[in-house]
């Protein structure tokens, strides 16, 4: 071993140790200050139409029944709390759900876009997950893209008469996976690789985050199914209240 290789080996060991004790495995929020300014602004603008649509839909919901205000706020708090609690993970590291897939299934993607950005602001300020400059990018991946896919898959499975539990699992699982893919692409667009450009960079980001994100997506899918089963057993009137179960399905 040359001297340089020895140093590299030591660096690798230190790195591996750091990685082993890395405190939290988050649902891949891009950290504060990690994106160049132009990308922060661009992703914010991309989110705007979704946020406006979500805002209008929430406003109408509250107009039709004022009672919905506290209900919507509670749903937002629920998403925050569910995403801030430690979930049982295989490796023993502490990881968190995104909760947005569940939110999209229960409350619809329009409501989740506005609730999502509020939850992301709270996560940045209160939990230091994500950041203010990366709020636009994180909102797009977690509050817009993921929930839209989750909701789309849930509805599609409903049309195809797939078993409800399977469809809830698929929706939450694929919503999570999609969020992780979008985040990787966002990072790759900002930092294209020297060898192979944006595409190679995207593959690299997908690769390094896969070991934490894939198991997390499976666990999130399972937990979402368990939560929905619990709700279907104990909370039929409440579910009808938030529009998750329509009259006939409930019986």
């Amino acid at each position: 071993m040359t001297k340089r290789e020895k140093i590299l080996l030591k660096a690798a060991i230190v790195f591996a140790l750091l990685f082993a004790i890395a405190p939290t495995v988050n649902a891949m929020h891009i950290m504060e200050g990690y994106l160049p300014a132009a990308y922060c602004v661009a992703w914010g603008i991309v989110c705007l139409p979704f946020l406006v649509a979500g805002f209008i839909s929430l406003k109408n919901k509250i107009k039709t029944n004022r009672r919905n205000l506290t209900l919507i706020a509670m749903s937002g708090a629920f998403i925050f709390v569910i995403s801030s609690l430690k979930i049982p993970s295989v490796t023993g590291s502490c990881s968190h759900m995104t909760g947005t897939g569940l939110g999209a299934i229960l409350f619809g993607p329009a409501a989740v876009s506005v609730l999502g950005i509020i939850v992301l602001i709270f996560q940045a300020v209160l939990l230091a997950h994500g950041g203010l400059t990366t709020l636009g990018a994180n909102t797009f991946s977690m509050a817009v893209a993921g929930p839209l896919v989750a909701f789309g898959i849930y509805k599609l499975c409903g049309k195809l008469n797939v078993n409800r539990r399977v469809s809830v699992f698929l929706a939450a699982f694929l919503g999570d996976i999609f969020t992780y893919c979008v985040t990787s692409v966002q990072l790759a667009l900002a930092y294209p690789s020297e060898v192979g450009g944006t595409a190679a960079s995207a593959v690299k980001f997908l690769g390094v985050f896969a070991p934490t994100q894939l198991p997390l997506a499976v666990i999130e899918g399972i937990l979402t199914v368990v939560i929905v089963i619990g709700l279907e057993t104990y909370a039929v009137p409440e579910l009808r209240n938030i529009g998750f179960l329509k009259g006939k399905e409930a019986e």
Partner: protein, 257 residues
């Protein structure tokens, strides 16, 4: 229950004018992100740590632990930035893997290090805001920025409900643990799921009760809360303006250099 929130209420800057703190944190954050030099990042980092820990009275050990939160993300994504898989070795390092090399150029290593420095400096800006300004004050500032009233109202309610729900959740978790709810992995998954559904049921019920309570107190579509306004001191404003001007100068210098 939320560490940052708890620490924030202890900060010595808690009663300083909220808009002033907000403007300081956001301006510094923007300058830090658009700057290209490590020097700016270093200045921002140390000034913020000094302000939050030495002046604000946040325990240093706590602060250090908080700084570690984004470390996992930073480590993993920096590897992705630096390491390439290519047929030709680059100049910084190269490990042969059959016919390919795990390799990186020294330009990208430098770039990655600079990015890490910048990101950590940006994180200290965020921490300055979240460790000195309580959420209700931040909402007051957002109101002044003409964020729609409905959003502010939702944020206020959500902030309140977070603590209600966390209390409920931790009570449920405690009682699950005392009944062998985390015996093995399967049970843990089931416990978490049933906690989630119980939490949602309770929160929906609670939201109904809360609305009744609000209506009983003449709620008519607008939540009004008293906010205390403390005027910003001229001296502090001058200091902030001077500091931001220096930072701006450094940023411009980093561009033209």
């Amino acid at each position: 229950m939320i560490v940052i929130d708890k620490l924030c209420y202890q900060s010595k800057f808690r009663y300083v004018n909220a808009s002033e703190k907000f403007v300081y944190a956001v301006l510094t954050l923007i300058l830090c992100v658009i700057s290209r030099s490590v020097l700016t990042a270093a200045v921002v980092f140390f000034v913020n740590v000094w302000l939050t820990v030495a002046k604000g009275g946040i325990p240093f050990a706590r602060y250090g632990k908080l700084l570690l939160i984004p470390a996992a993300f930073l480590l993993v994504s920096t590897i992705a930035l630096v390491v390439n898989l290519s047929r030709t070795p680059l100049d910084a390092f190269a490990f042969p893997l059959g016919e390919w090399y795990l390799t990186g150029s020294s330009a990208s290593v430098r770039e990655a290090l600079r990015l890490c420095g910048k990101a950590f400096a940006a994180v200290t800006c965020l921490y300055f805001l979240s460790l000195t300004t309580v959420m209700t004050d931040i909402l007051g500032v957002l109101k002044k920025l003409h964020i729609p009233g409905l959003v502010i109202e939702l944020m206020m309610l959500i902030y309140r409900f977070i603590f209600l729900l966390m209390e409920t959740a931790s009570a449920i978790i405690t009682s699950q643990n005392s009944r062998l709810g985390s015996r093995d992995y399967r049970t843990r998954l089931r416990s978490f799921g049933s906690m989630g559904s119980a939490l949602l049921v309770r929160s929906i019920k609670r939201s109904g009760v809360l609305y009744d309570a609000m209506e009983a107190r003449c709620y008519d579509g607008e939540l009004k809360v008293l906010s205390e306004e403390r005027p910003a001191e001229k001296k502090e404003i001058l200091c902030i303006a001077g500091y931001e001007a220096v930072l701006l100068g450094m940023v411009i210098w980093s561009w033209i250099r």
